[in-house]
Amino acid sequence: MENKNLILFNKLKINLLYAGAAFFFVGIFWLLIAGTGLIGLIILGLGLGLLAYILAGNFRETLEYIKAMDWKAIGSKYYYLLVILAIFIMVNVISNKRFLRWDITESRRYTLSPHTRNLLKQLEQGKKQIKVLFFRTEVPLIESVDDLLKEYKARCPIIEFEYIDPDKAPQRAKEYNIRSINVPYGNYKLYGTIIILSAGLKESIDVVKVDYRQAGGNYQPYLKLLDNLEKDISSAFLRITKSKKKIYFIYGHGEVDLDDMDKSGWSETKKVIADENYIVDKIYLASLGNIPEDCSLLVVGAPQKNYTDMEYEFLNKYLESGGHILVMLEPFTKNNINLFLNKWGLTTSERFVIDPASSYWFQPVIPLIKAYNFHPITEKLQASTYFPTAAGIEIMSKRPEGVDIQPLAKTTPESWLETDTSGKQVKYNPGLDKKGPIDIMVVVSKKIAENKEMRMVIIGDSDFASNSNVKYYGNMDLLLNTLNWLAGKEELIGIRSKPVESREIQLTQVKLKFVLYSCVIILPLLIIVAGVIIWLKRR
């Protein structure tokens, strides 16, 4: 009786030992996959407890039991197949959760910067659904973008990636308004746009840009990737996690009308701005008394009438506290905007720009701007922009202290500011008209505090972004770049572009022939000769 009880007790202990081991491994497995969590800890604790309980009292016994086990017999049973497979799966699952990755390329091409990795970690923890669509033509140029995105995926598996060839799925490309690049790549029309979607927000990045290189005396356009793609992609990820910013358009003085669906209205433009993740609203300064807290950017859209002193006071106060304003002007307007502009070192007039040397479809009243001064706004602007009837902006010699004034776009030296606003005699009158180049876009900025900058952009025209013009040439890009810069759209700074060294192989015809003969003929033949010799020897 006693003996039987002992056997029973031993069996119980042995089963507890197995259970302890099983709990122990499942617990470790759980913790490795899910990270630290209560359930995993409980399972692990249970396993350790059981093992400790059994081993503490019966250490020698257990050891002997394990020693006496018939491993061969266990091995020959079929269930070891399952055990092996389970181990295989377990090892691989763990290795996928806890892994190391070394990039041993010279320029660390596949290493994401610490900033990006940090951001991705936050995204992973945020558990927000993020989807990335990459519309692209499969060509070698784009390959490295695929590689880069794979690094994002490797660091943040919750992001869903989809690769789409717009030629094969035109419907989807249309859905996201994907356009091909106007410079051909070999025989292809090339697509390369990344769309990032999350919680109703959308960010898009065009990965390819047009550059020019000298070929036989003139400049040929060619396509290249953005210089710092990682920065652009990471910034887009950063922005998509933030809430929308608000842009206020000032009303009440005959400014541009966001609801006007006419050619000169801004209803289309409003949609374009909203698509860039902004909330667009109107504001009546006189009735409000102050500028709303949530205002990221204020737009003074070519007022026809005078502002009151009080209203200018609002604007100045807003600017001095680190505000952001876009001012658009129109010629032929008699208003007191100079009261405001003069304070910031600028002045304008009723006169309008005439540019016979660079104009839109040979209409000198519509200057066409082909080159810009370097600035974050114009940095990525590839296309020309046109400004139907533009006012000139003059930078005064007396500038306010601490304020940085930078012209961004100017007309050609052949242009002038026409004084005869009746339009009867459009020709250059020395002494009366101001000779070009004329500034039609100027940036004013002033550092207020460590992370605060007053920013103002003045454009001598508002029609460039009206319904009828906003979608042509580079006008939309200019408008959006300007708004983005003014509203201080987040950019992940500190990500440096990676130098790409040219490693082109310089091959002459002779060298090429040598490669062909030595690789394709001589080397394989030598092997056959060696084989024959050995074969003969053995005979």
């Binding site: 092996i84 090892v91 010279e106 192989i505 056959i528």
Partner: protein
């Protein structure tokens, strides 16, 4: 120590056997003929010294899956057909040593093939400025990939005494692990990621780019270990194979 010695003696025997057969030279001839031709094409088309070797190594991963069955098909099948397997098993050498010996022997033999491709690297150094990171990582990845191929071939070879059957089954199996990555793109969600994970080639790509990732190393090592383990088990249960 004795174990190392035993494995080494099997490795030597294997290598010798490979090189006295004319087939080895014919295989090497084709390997270098096709490899050389593609290297030449890559030089002309890519013209970027840093990117030729990654492309070539990728191609080598492909050509090797076609060649490996020819190399591994004879490892055990031949011994079984000739009856020499009985001698091997009854000798004091342990089953695990036989399997490891054959595995490393075949791998070494294959690496001698691959050593010839270093000639292409010399050409690149002479005519351009290749990047060495991807080359080193690429060859490391290739050794792992090829080891996985060989482990599959050896396991299948241990199941049959017919070399042709062994070769064809190995080819089909490797083909499966090759196209499974491509099949995975027709699925979505978990099915897609599991199928994609089984693809031998997908784990190889990162290496050729110059990225060493422990996930890929673990994958190949676990494939190799599991195959060699089963081979050893097969040999131990002699009844199954003879």
């Amino acid at each position: 120590m004795e174990m190392v010695h035993n494995i080494y003696s099997i490795v030597r025997k294997e290598i010798r056997q490979f090189f006295v057969s004319f087939v080895a030279y014919v295989l090497l001839f084709f390997f270098l003929l096709i490899g050389g031709y593609y290297f030449y094409i890559y030089i002309i088309e890519i013209r970027d010294a840093a990117r030729v070797m990654p492309y070539f190594l990728n191609f080598m991963g492909f050509i090797s899956f076609l060649l490996t069955p020819f190399v591994t098909m004879r490892t055990f099948s031949e011994e079984k057909k000739l009856g020499t397997i009985e001698l091997l098993i009854t000798s004091p050498i342990r089953e695990s040593e036989i399997v490891l010996g054959k595995f490393f022997g075949t791998l070494l033999f294959y690496l001698i093939y691959v050593a010839f491709t270093l000639y292409y690297l010399i050409i690149l150094i002479a005519y351009g400025k290749p990047e060495f990171g991807p080359v080193i990582a690429g060859y490391l990845g290739f050794i792992l990939l090829e080891s996985a191929y060989i482990s599959v071939g050896i396991l299948i070879s241990a199941t049959t005494k017919n070399q042709i059957v062994s070769g064809i089954v190995t080819l089909i199996t490797l083909l499966f692990f090759w196209i499974v990555g491509w099949i995975s793109s027709y699925f979505s969600g978990a099915a897609s990621s599991i199928l994609g994970y089984l693809s031998f080639m997908k784990h190889y790509e990162d290496f050729t780019k110059g990225v060493i990732d422990t996930r890929h190393i673990i994958f190949y090592l676990s494939v190799i270990v599991i195959n060699l383990f089963f081979t050893i088990r097969l040999l131990e249960n002699r009844k199954v194979i003879i």
